[in-house]
Amino acid sequence: MRNLTGVNDLVVRFANVNGTGSASANNMFAMSIFRMGIPMTAKNIFPSNIQGLPTWYEVRVSEKGYLGRREGVDIMLCVNPQSMKQDVASVKPGGYFLYDNTKNLHKDFIREDVNYIGIPMIGICMRLYSDARQRQLFKNMIYVGALAALLDIELEVVKGIIADEFKKKPKLIEPNVQAMMAGVNYIKENYEHPLGLRVERRDLVGDAIVIDGNTACGIGAVYAGATVAGWYPITPSTSLVEAFAKYSNRLRVDPETGLKKVAIVQAEDELAAFGMVLGANWNGARAFTATSGPGLSLMNEFLGLAYFAEIPAVLVDVQRGGPSTGMPTRTQQSDLLLAAYASHGDTKHVLLIPSNPSECFDFMADAFDLAERLQTPIIVMTDLDLGMNEHLSAPLKWDDARRYDRGKVYTAEDLDALSAMGKQFGRYLDVDGDGIPYRTLPATHPTKGSFFTRGTSHDEYARYTEDGVKNAQVLDRLSKKWDTAKEILPLPEFYQTQNESNIGMIFFGTTTYAALEAIDLLKQEEGITLDAMRATAFPFHASVEEFIEAHDQVFVVEQNRDAQFRTLLINELEINPKKLIKILNYDGMPITADAIRNGIAKHLEAIKL
């Protein structure tokens, strides 16, 4: 058997039982790779369940800096008998299978082309610890130690991580180090180490951080000046508002009075959550909510009201597997059409689509500015992969000179000045010709500037009207505002090599990681060069159409069955559908570079025939 070998290029998968405290041990393993200066990406693959079912954690180590998921497992650490059959099967030939050999492995799990490394985890724990909970928790540290020895991870790095992890409970540091060392010593005494497959210190991560997108979004909302959040728990968005609450409690509480410069209310449902957001924004506070597909469905009615009544709002949709309740703990990009055209009538919404955590932070800050500038909901589209998994990311950055853009809001002085000029305030008047009217906040002026916010048809002065012409005028102005939005949204990112190629690829959000790797694979392994564009927003900037026009064929990579992003392109830009080729993945797992590469290569081969 030829064993897998290599340095800083491997996939390690942990197969655990949900609820056994393995998450922090697995995370320590991933962070030790990061702290050795090697790019890595980690993904939780977990059930929609609290305890007991199989759960996996996958770490990809990539010196080349590829941060998407890669298929095939090089090293499987299996401590869950329930999933052992599939876990053994997922190991690449020549790979390694680490298991607890306190009991003998059943013959059904033996493969000739896999290396078995048995570690008596329970046995060691029984010897070292008397407490049942300790035995369970320290078992996790034993395998972290074993992996460290096998992969040549610097032990001082792991010890440093343990020290940081238990900073607030220093008594736990020593026992954890002891458990980790028990694993190290067992490997040293019983196996050749390190393996042919190993890691080696590099200096490739710079000032990067490791953070999940929900946390980055939550911190972004703090920096953006959000003061109100109405929300309803739903996987995978829950941790976003929890992060907002955590950082608000840390950074926005008066130490003397204990009073908070923030109001966060867990609503009774998603309808109420978004209603709160609208009420608060209408009243001049920056307010937001976060949800996922089923919640977004419920918010449709209010989204229509916000669009038509022109109320700013920020909503983060952390997409999960659909349709319906779908796969709550799996990832997809399948809410695009729902979000873009949410609610009845001619309604459409601005979408921002970040691709990594630092962009989550930036786009949250942008979202609040854009919502107030455009006076409309801004939906930030992320997904479970970005939201709940930790990613290697550029550090979060804030420019202290940045000022919040509160949009067109008349003050009492403005209203008096307007009146002195003989002009009347009209809530929905297009004063500047950009489709964006001026608003006033409640209580601005004792006698001027009040208006009625309503979802019924209204004229430029916010008065109810059933005059079809006036209603059409409002709808046309909203179209003009839509065109204005195109110019002020984040620009797409282009990856082009002097227009050498007549083939283009479009991707967005978390598909980016795999897409960028696929470009390299196509070039190196298939000899195919293509230009690429990463979309960041809807409606589309003019350069999106130009990119498509400049290429004969454009592949659109996305994680849903119906090619929803492609539909948006066709629908909004009136592009010939034949020009846009679908590359899809909708199994709930993040798309891989191999899948994209294979899809594109197969298509190109087919049309050559």
Binding site: L259, G275, M276, G279, F452
Partner: protein, 350 residues
């Protein structure tokens, strides 16, 4: 009939303490049916706000969808209004209040809006003790869709088309009491003498104040057999107390017999004065209120007046310990921790 309101006002109209005449509290002309009880309630709101010298622009008036929800257009022209979606006014009011605790929030809803589609939001606004006045204009039927029974229609009540309602009606007052509402009242649109002081007291209350106002629908539910018709309500009404509202820092001029009244001081220093009609009536006793309400129901009475008040009530902002300043007034310097703090946050992720 004209829909244009004359702008001419007599120059000598009396002004209140903040310099406004009563007409400054009016809205556009109503498009509801002539004689609609809802218009009387609008009139009571106008009178209460004028007499309390509330600055109209400090009021945010919000509603859902339905006949009742149209009324905010018919009072307080200088207030910002928000006509939200069916049954969802409470959440919009909650958000508005979270953004600025300093304004006065006046929500208007109907029985369809509150007791059916909006039941969830109504219940949770009570649970959070949102500082607002929530008026239900309760006529037991859907007027805008021509007279279907609503969830507050009493079992056995006969609709205009002659059908008998087979289901139990939801009693919003009983429900609010059960849920822990801190101000619960019921009144009748035709009884301004009772309704105006109740509105004043409710506006002064620190927390969620419900006034369920029976407001007969003259077009679709004012027939013989309806338990929400003018005649039926007048015949079955039972007032708990005669009510006087005493504003803060103003000499008490209302004469009353101390031996038979109770003063309930509200959070802002004003008080509600109740002349006892019912024996042993104390509006601060929730259990007694619940029991009295049940008794009235059993006897076929419609109990009106201030049913319950908690003068110590703490509102949403006090419960969640939010800043005393309106959150919408906070600026970058209050809210943004800055690049230096972000650098430290980044360090936690390495």
């Amino acid at each position: 009939m004209t829909y244009i309101k004359p702008k001419f006002r007599h120059p000598d109209l009396p002004k209140n303490a903040v310099g406004f005449t009563k007409t400054d509290y009016e809205g556009v002309i109503s498009t509801l049916c002539a004689g609609c009880g809802h218009d009387s309630i609008s009139g009571s709101i106008v009178q209460a706000c004028y007499e309390m010298s509330i600055e109209p622009h400090r009021v945010a008036k919000l509603s859902g969808i339905g006949c009742s929800s149209k009324t905010p257009n018919y009072f307080l022209n200088n207030s910002h209004g928000f006509n939200s979606v069916h049954g969802r006014m409470p959440s919009v009011a909650t958000g508005a209040n979270m953004a600025n605790r300093d304004l006065i929030y006046l929500g208007v809803s109907g029985d369809g809006d509150t007791a059916s589609i909006g039941m969830g939001q109504f219940v949770h606004a009570i649970r959070r003790n949102l500082n607002m006045l929530y008026i239900v204009m309760n006529n037991g039927c859907y007027g805008l869709t021509k007279g279907q029974d609503s969830a507050t229609a009493d079992a056995g009540s006969v609709s205009k088309s002659g059908s008998v309602n087979p289901f139990e009606g939801i009693d919003l007052v009983g429900m609010a009491l059960e849920l822990g509402a801190t101000f619960v009242a019921r009144s009748f649109s035709g009884d301004k003498t009772q309704l105006v002081p109740l509105i004043k007291a409710a506006l002064s209350h620190n927390g969620f104040a419900l006034i369920d106002v029976l407001s007969p629908c003259v077009t679709f539910n004012n027939n013989v057999g309806s338990t929400k018709s003018y005649d039926y309500v007048r015949d079955h009404i039972e007032a708990l107390a005669e009510i006087g509202y005493v504003p803060e820092k103003e000499e008490i001029t209302v004469s009353y017999d101390r031996g038979s009244s109770v003063d309930v001081e509200l959070h802002d220093g004003s008080s509600v004065q109740l002349h006892k009609l019912a024996d042993g009536w104390d509006p601060r006793d929730r259990q007694a209120a619940m029991s009295r309400l049940q008794q009235a129901k059993a006897e076929g009475e419609i109990l009106t007046g201030l049913v319950y008040v908690d003068p110590e009530s703490k509102d949403l902002h006090e419960i969640i310990k939010s800043d005393k300043r309106p959150l919408n007034s906070l600026k970058e310097e209050d809210l943004c921790p800055g690049a230096g703090v972000l650098a430290m946050i980044n360090d936690e992720f390495r």
